[in-house]
Structure formats: structure tokens, C-alpha cells
Assembly symmetry: D2
Homo-oligomer: 326 residues x 4
């Protein structure tokens, strides 16, 4: 289904070349003052056409809030509905790919699952869907701000994207994300571990192939004696912190007060600026010409998307925590 | 909460040193003939004390089925309740750790979240909880068998565990898991992608720090031109397969008919056979003596747990798929 | 939360006097041809101002579909987003009630729960929310049509509404709803019984105070010997039907192939055309003047809402049934 | 599925004549002291064979707690697993009904849905399942006690059950339930209204045909002017109560601090002490002899079940409320 979260839940809709993308952010606490300019700034960070090396699609990405926020800017505690119109949906560009299965895209699997697929820009499977995530994350982040919780992501250094783009190729990328200010006790034991929910949230972003937290992949070749996060006392009362953070801020699925660290790995965009041989829905051999507007490195624009997913996941589990702690 | 899955859902309960571990497997299709000996064999694969280099705890791990299976062995379509008694729960061994926060364990986070914690063997946070997963997975796997879907995991080569154990140390490990025979169309778009659900299921296992699918971490430094999974026709009609499997069997969150591949990375067990300095619930500095029965490499016994989580996840989404496909 | 349903799920948003009402209908099967004129007709049936004895608010209630339906009218299997703009939101009419708790309305409970409330028309608690239900129900009904399942409701005879309205009073009403064409096997045992889900769906409609199915309230004073639904054979094979329908089409929570019958009881609209003494958010005694535009009998316009909730519930459980039946 | 509740969730399992009934109560807050004798007393209230006019099945109904409660009686915050063995499961009594569809029972619908059915005592569809509800309710009630919330039900006067039983007949009955001490603000707007959740919980009990809250069925013929719950101030600050309780303690789906009132209507038990003509799974005409042990008025033993469902529903929504209110 097209929803994520339990107590703070985002439901999204929209095809890349349909009338609009949009979503419903349900469960936001009441009385949070929302700065819509801050929402627009986050949305601008993922907008196509605004930076070298990203898709040339021109979208103003104007966010229209339809409910849930009072005229004075405060949340009502009711669901926040919003839409972003698709304005530069030049479907004619996509005539050449109608009915043709692009390799490593979702065209074939959607077609087989549903028996119908909006081939224009990938329809529902397009990364354009992530604009709704960023809108919701940018609203929800303002609640976390009031709690002193901060979420920041950055692209890790990799191959030079401009060079790759100049060759008509694409390249993968890794995004590092850190959540700071999280109190102890966020996350549920066993199946709804904080790190399990974060993994699912990140793996739900298009093109993600791996998720690491704490020591990540390196942990599987580490010795226990090298991996101890020794406790130290902090302040009065029973408040402990750790000298190191091999655990990545989560122990037993529950936050321990240290920064929650994770790295998200994106594959290269599967659309190349070269002709690609494939099949169409009739089973004919066809060639997809090097058209369309795509990103040589999808990880560049994914940075605010990773932040949004971390914000939504942490906020959802913080609200749940309110229930479980006396 | 202590449940996982939507249409096939496992709910588990049990503390390491309480009367019993157990679970409820809900949503199993009716009329599946269950071989309980096969269940026992899977359970035996994760049993402590049965192999070199694993915990010496002696548990017979007898599975008692309480409902959901008719006397003739066929599932009724009703929830399958089961328990595994904790027989070798020598709590006296744990007197030395009562109220003491073991580093990198869940003791501190549980204590802070709930204000109470069963320190004996880690209580609910113990890896002993995974016996319930293996029971459920072993039952559910028999439904997948009838559909031609197979799930197999293996420990990837790493440091010699016996040497590590002899040094009183522990080491991490990586488990590779492959699902074969899956038809096209399993998995939901956007938030409930098959790979997102698999990631959450694996990250919910104790000690897991990273999840990879397809090209995994390597994808983030790969070029698009190197990562194309070219389509080829297979058989009659519109059935395609791929020449390579960079995607790991999932495109757009939906299975494409290729093997679904993943690697799960486990950190080293945090309990060492050396004294460890820490704090207790009173805030006193204390030392935890090198007692208890623990695994030098938790990944060894985790192999059937990884299989169980893959089985449960795939089965859940296959049942859902039944609905979405005409 | 603002969602209902599991496999076919409606999420709605919108305050009575905000920019728009709207919703997301997720899980609709693909390839269902949607007649938008039929949607408009169902929406028109609940529109205010179109019949004697209902609210004079003038709303054109134009439905804008934003996603999930291809240009040729067929569903894509993706979420169907839609909005209905609030055009005749004459907030000035409501200045007199700002901050004043109308008796038997949700003003006081919302205010206490959230610390903020949109008093204009009741905000989120307004019956205007039901326009989203009717849109979704009208879309979903077209899938049921293809399956031969029909949902029809009607207002049961009661006091003359015009007379009541002329007295400045309001009156309750009862709506009878019948689902025909449902196959055997729809509904889940125990907690998700078809009748339990229908009850929840109906009780979620504003102003509903009672739900009956089959013999309803009368069953509690009936004798068993009078209440037997004797089986009779129908056609070939093992297909039975019943000579009577005391059960209301559901046995053990699962449809038995007979019509599913229910009656939904609505209280009188709590807003009267007379001054009402109450308190405001400052605790002052205040009087609410007899303003605003309201229905003397809310049950009149609730008929299509009852149908919509029955459609959504039955469709959700039919999709689930697809999974459970071999 | 066999679960109910979101933040406090009960999952049950067990067939009437299988090894055991049982359940998992997940989400109970930690540190609640549980009196197991009180649990046993509630269970005894619904036990068969203990009162005139109820089934003669003899079950000691011993409750075994398997997890979630520390040796000192305090909840751990982890899931509470429990079982009740089926001891007096005299299956031979049921040989005469094997494969025979009892009218107004779930035999036919289960058979058609699953293709298999445990005919012994109705299997999963037996009212014996409610023992698990009562165990869970009796545990959960002790948390509500600490919050000053009380749930009490009673059988409303009806026909003399002994007379009905002496005639070999059965009769329906109505149970009135009242929740007192509930603070303002429990329940969610729109689809998860407190009264909607209560309706679903009650309709999930075997044999329930109608649910009323507040004025109930009578509301549909009442005038608005007769139905006003006028506000009055109580104590200091902005705390209001009502002079009357037509609303039944819920306005806009949210508790208003008044007692929450409801009436649950049970049909007569469909099993009579007379021969019944029906069909078997082969389609043959057969007669079910007047055997088995059944209740002439199921509503008698249902009183603690109604209480349990009210307790579980209110507790679930109170925990949720903790999140939504600042």
C-alpha cells in the first residue's frame, strides 16, 4: 500500500505525468507552528533542473496545503492534505518508450503485476513520487525541531558526476544520514526496532540497494573486543552515554541517546543516454532511444529524500514512545 | 509491537528465562500438509549447544503445536499457536549480572524505556526469541514448497570462529540468502517494496547492522553502463528474464522472476569471556564477570533465522499478490 | 487515524471551511473502467441544498481526480487521489460560534483533545467530511458492479421532516442497507467478522447511535426455535442457501450468500434553529444564535454515505477473501 | 485476522477441541501489578457448568501465564502470552455432527471459505474462543483500575431462562455495559471513533446482532429538541459536563467525560435440544440429533466477555490518547 508509519502516517498518490502528486500526513501533533517557506526550501533541494548534473525537467513544485493547518500556521491535529501539480509533464517525450520495458526500471514488473502501466515517466514508479515524501518530511521536521531532534544527510564523495554525465553514463552514490538529539527509548523491541523501521523507510526509496547502521557492513568482519561501546556517566541520575558508537545509536532496537547513524547506497540511474535494446508489451524486440530527462547520479537529489524518510520514521516512533514510557 | 507481517503475520512472546517462548502464526492458507519433523529439523539448526563454537546452553527445544493444524496434519486456516518451553534456564548463572548494564546489549535501553527489565539472559531482548521465528518459518516454508518457492541461506566465509573463541573473543559474520522460484509480481510499489520489507525483517534480527540486496553496497560506486540487466525472452508469451541480476530479483519493489538475493551482516556478539566494566541500575561502577553461555559468532546460528524471516516476508507478500493480480 | 480498510483503504482529509476536502483510495484493483458521471451522480445525492429539508449550503461538489485512473478511464492499480473544493465556505456565518461549544457537537471534545479547533462549520468533525466517502464509494462500487455485488440503502419512514423543520426542530432517522450478490466466504473469523467491520464503518458516520444486522435488536428477545435459518440446496454441487435470513447474510462473521442486511440509526442533528445556552473556550456563559445552515434530518443525506461505507467495507473484505480461498 | 487493537493488541488462537486456547496481549504498559486471582475470578464468571442454565461442559479453565509478567507480579512491558488447556474436550459427543452443517452456525461458511473445518464444537468458531478475551481483559482491566476507569456490564431482564431451557429451547438476551471514569479526549476522529471501535469489538463476539450507544435505536425517532445534552461547569478551569447523556459519553467519536453507555444484543443460541434437519459436506440430507452441551441463553455467560471487549478497546484508545494530547 502507499502508506508508511503507524502514529504519524504518510499516504501518497500521483503518477509522474498525471495531474498532480500529493499526500496526506496524518497524526501530526496539534499546535506545531509550520513555516511553509521552510517546506518550500526543502522541496527546492530535490527539484529537478536546479543544479548541474540533474534532470532537466522544469518543475516549479509549488506546494498547496489543503487541510490540517489553521490560517495562523498552527497544526490542527487533523490530517494535512497537500498537492504538487505536475506542470512540465511533456508526455510527447515519452511516446518513444510507450509500451517498451526499460531495463532495471519498474516497467516490466508493474505491467506483469497490474496488466496496465503508465509508461510516461514511469508513472507511479517514478522518482517524482519522492516530492511528496519531502513535503511531508519538511512539515514533520518542524515538530522534531521543537523537541531538539535534528536530521541531516549528505552525499558521500564519489566519482565526478559531471564527467560521468559527459560520457552519457550514470553513477551510483552513497548518502550518510545522522539523527541527533534523540532521547533514550525511541523504538520498539523485536520487530519494530528503530533500525528496522529506518531500513525499510530507506529501502523504499527508488534505487536504494543497501542500508548500513553503526559499523554497518564492517561489523561482520570485526572482533567483539574491538566493538565495545563502553558506558560513561553523564550528568546526575542514571544517565549513561557511550565512549564510542559502534552501535549507531540503537541497542536492542531502541535509541540509546547517541547519534543514530546510517548510510544509504543508491545504484546508478538505469536510464542511459545511449540506445538500449529491449522488448515491448507485444514481445517485439525494440530499441529505446536515448531520450527523456534523467539524473546522472540519483543520489544527488536523494539527500533531502533520505532526510525526509528519517524524519518521518523517527517522528512516528517518538510519538509511539510517548505511550510506552511512563 | 511484537508482530510482523500483514496477511501472514507472526506474533511472538517469551523472555529468555521465563516459562516459555512462543508465537501465533496467523493467516496461513488452509489445507497445507505440515510435516512436524521438518519443523523440528529447522529448529535444531539454531539450537544452542549442538555445534562447536556456539552457546553451551542445553535446550531440547521441543515444539508444542496448540492450534491451527488438524490431527491429520493439514492447516485449518486458523491461527497456529505454538510454544517452546525454556528448560535449561539456569537463572543462578545470571545473578552476577542482575541490574548491571552489559555494553552493546539492550539492558540499558529497555531499563530506560520500561523502568523494569528481566536481566536474566536479556529477557525479551535475548536471541532466544528467534526460536519462535524459526518455528513459524519452518511451518510457513512448507506452503512455499507447494508453490515451488525455495529459500536458502549460508554463512559466508570469515575468520576462523574456533580461534576467535579460544581467545575469549567474538566475531561478526555475514549470511547470504537467496529466494528462488518466486513468480513475477510479488511486492508492492512505493512503501511496501519487497526489498524494503526484507530489509526490515532482517534488521529486526538481533545483532544485524547492514542489509544488501542485488549489487548492494557496491552499487553506490558502480556505473550505470556496467549495471544493466538486459532482458531476454523465455518461453512463449510475454515472459522475460534477465541476463544478469544486478537488481537482485526486484525492480520497482516488485519481483521480476529472477532469484532474490540479499546479504545480512551481523556484528560480533557483545558478550565477551573477559571482565567488563560498566554501571548498574543504581549508577554504581560494577564489573560483569565473564560468565554466562554465549556464542563467539552469532551469525552461525542465525542462518536458519535469516531463512525464517525471508520465508515469512515472501509468504506474506505472495498472499497479498494473490489479491492484486487478476 | 483518518483511514479505513486494509486492502482497499480510504484515507481522507479536509476541514469544512478549509480549501478542500479530499481523499486517497488505495488498493483498487487495476483495469476497472470508471464512469466519472456515475461518481458525480452519487455525490449529487448527498449534496446540500438540492432537496427540501436539507442544509442550504450551496456546493457544486466538483470532483477532481488527481491520480490512479488512466486517460482512458481504467484504474491503474495505483492510489486514486481526489479533491472536492470548498467553495461556499461563508465563514462569516460562523463568527457567532467561534470558540463556543455547541451541545452534542464535537467542539468541546476536539478542543480538549487537541487544544485547538476549527470552529467554522465544525472543522474536521463536520459531516462535510462524508463527501470524500461518497466519492470513494462511488468509484469502488464500480468494481463491485463487475462482480455482481450490489449495495442499496433507503431511508425508513419516520416523522414528516418538513413539519419538523417548520418547527425549527430536527429529527432522527433510520437507514436500511442491503448488500446482494455477495458470494459465500467474505469476512474473517473472530475479530474481523464482516458484520463487525460493517458496524465500525457505519458507527464512524457522524450522528449514528445504533447498528443492527439480521434480526438486530429483536434477536435479544427471540426464541431459538423461531430463529432457525433452515438450509436448502441450490443448484448442483454443495451450494446451500437459507429459507429465511435471521442471520442477515453472515454466519460466524462470514457471508453465507444471502443478502447482507443492516439498519443504521441516526440521532437528530444537534443544531437547532433556536438559541442555545452553552460555554465558550474562556468558560463564559454564552448563547449560540440560531444561525448556520443545517439539516433538519441528517439521515436524508446520509443514505449515499451508508451505501459508500458498505461498498468500501465489502470491497475491502472481498479483496482479502481472494487471498484466503483456494 | 485474529488480532484486535492497535497499541494494546490481543491476538488469540485455539480450537474448541484442540489442545489449548490462548492469546498474546501486547502493548500492556510496564510496572502494572497483576493480581492473578482477579484474573481467575473473571474467567470463572464465564466458565461453563458453574451456573443453572448454561452449558454442562466442565472446564477448570486454569490460566497459565507464559511471559510478560515478572515473578513479582509486575508487567514487563513485553507481550503477555497465556494459555488455557482444553481438558473436557469429549470429541466423541461430536461424532454425530462431523461434516454436518448446523443451521445458524459457522460450519457452512468456514467449510466454504477454507475447504476444511474442525466440526468438533465448532472449532475456531466456538464461543470457547472468548475465554482468551476474558483472560486478556482481566489483565488489562488492572491497568484501567490504576487510572480510575471502571467497566461494568449486566444482563438486562428478559424471559426466564430456566423455563426456556426446560422447553428445550434457547433465548436471546441483552447486555448493558457502562464505562465510568474515562477522561475527556479518548477516541479518534472520523474512522476510529471510540463508539465505532466499541461497536466492532462487541459485534466480534459470537451471536451479537445489534449495538447501541447513548440513545441507541430510540435516537432515530427522537426530536433534536428532546436530545440536547446541555453543558454545565464542573470544578475550576474549563471542565464541562452534561446534564443528560443522550450522547452516551462520546461526542464526535471522542469521550466527553460522561459515562460511556452501550447495549449489546445477543441472538438465541442456534443449537436446540431438538433434532434439526440439514445437509452434510457430501450434500446429503441429514439430521443432527439433540446432543452436545450448549447454553440456553448465551448472553448469561457473555457478560464478562462484553466487559473484556470494552476494557481492551478503551485501554487501546487511552494509550493512543497519551500520544495525541500534549
Amino acid at each position: 500500500m502507499n502508506s508508511i508509519g503507524e502514529l504519524i502516517r504518510l499516504t501518497t498518490f500521483g503518477e509522474s505525468h498525471g495531474p498532480a502528486m500529493g499526500g496526506v500526513l496524518d497524526g501530526m501533533p496539534p499546535l506545531v507552528l509550520i513555516d511553509l517557506d521552510a517546506v518550500r526550501r526543502d522541496v527546492a533541494r530535490r527539484r529537478p533542473g536546479h543544479a548541474p548534473g540533474v534532470s532537466q525537467r522544469k518543475e516549479s513544485d509549488e506546494v498547496e496545503i489543503l487541510s490540517g493547518i489553521a490560517p495562523d500556521g498552527r497544526t490542527l491535529g487533523t490530517p494535512i492534505g497537500f498537492i504538487v501539480r505536475n506542470r512540465d509533464a511533456r508526455s510527447e517525450d515519452y511516446a518513444a518508450i510507450e509500451g517498451r520495458f526499460r531495463p532495471n526500471h519498474a516497467d516490466y514488473t508493474y505491467w506483469k503485476k497490474y496488466g496496465i502501466h503508465d509508461f510516461r515517466g514511469g508513472g507511479r514508479s517514478s522518482a517524482r513520487e519522492t516530492v511528496s515524501r519531502v513535503v511531508a518530511g519538511a512539515i514533520c521536521r518542524q515538530w522534531l525541531d521543537t523537541l531538539g531532534v535534528s536530521v541531516r544527510a549528505e552525499l558521500l564523495p564519489g566519482p565526478d558526476v559531471d564527467t560521468v554525465a559527459a560520457c552519457g553514463d550514470s553513477v551510483g552514490g552513497a548518502v550518510r544520514c545522522v539523527v541527533t538529539g534523540l532521547p533514550v527509548g525511541v523504538g520498539e523491541p523485536v520487530y519494530d526496532k528503530l533500525n528496522a523501521r529506518l531500513a525499510a523507510a530507506m529501502m523504499s526509496i527508488n534505487a536504494v540497494k543497501a542500508f548500513e547502521t553503526g559499523d554497518g557492513v564492517a561489523a561482520s568482519s570485526a572482533l567483539g573486543s574491538e566493538s565495545v561501546d563502553r558506558f560513561v556517566k553523564t550528568g546526575d541520575g542514571l544517565n549513561l552515554t557511550c565512549e564510542s558508537n559502534h552501535s549507531g545509536g540503537v541497542q536492542g532496537g531502541i535509541s540509546n541517546g547517541m547519534p543514530v547513524t546510517m548510510t544509504v547506497h543508491f545504484k546508478p540511474a538505469p536510464t542511459l543516454m545511449r540506445p538500449v535494446e529491449t522488448f515491448d508489451t507485444e514481445g517485439n524486440e525494440v530499441v529505446i532511444p536515448p531520450k527523456g530527462r534523467h539524473d546522472p547520479c540519483v543520489a544527488v537529489r536523494a539527500v533531502p529524500v533520505v532526510e525526509a524518510m528519517a524524519v518521518l520514521t523517527v517522528a512516528d516512533m517518538m510519538k509511539s514512545r510517548g505511550c510506552l514510557t511512563r
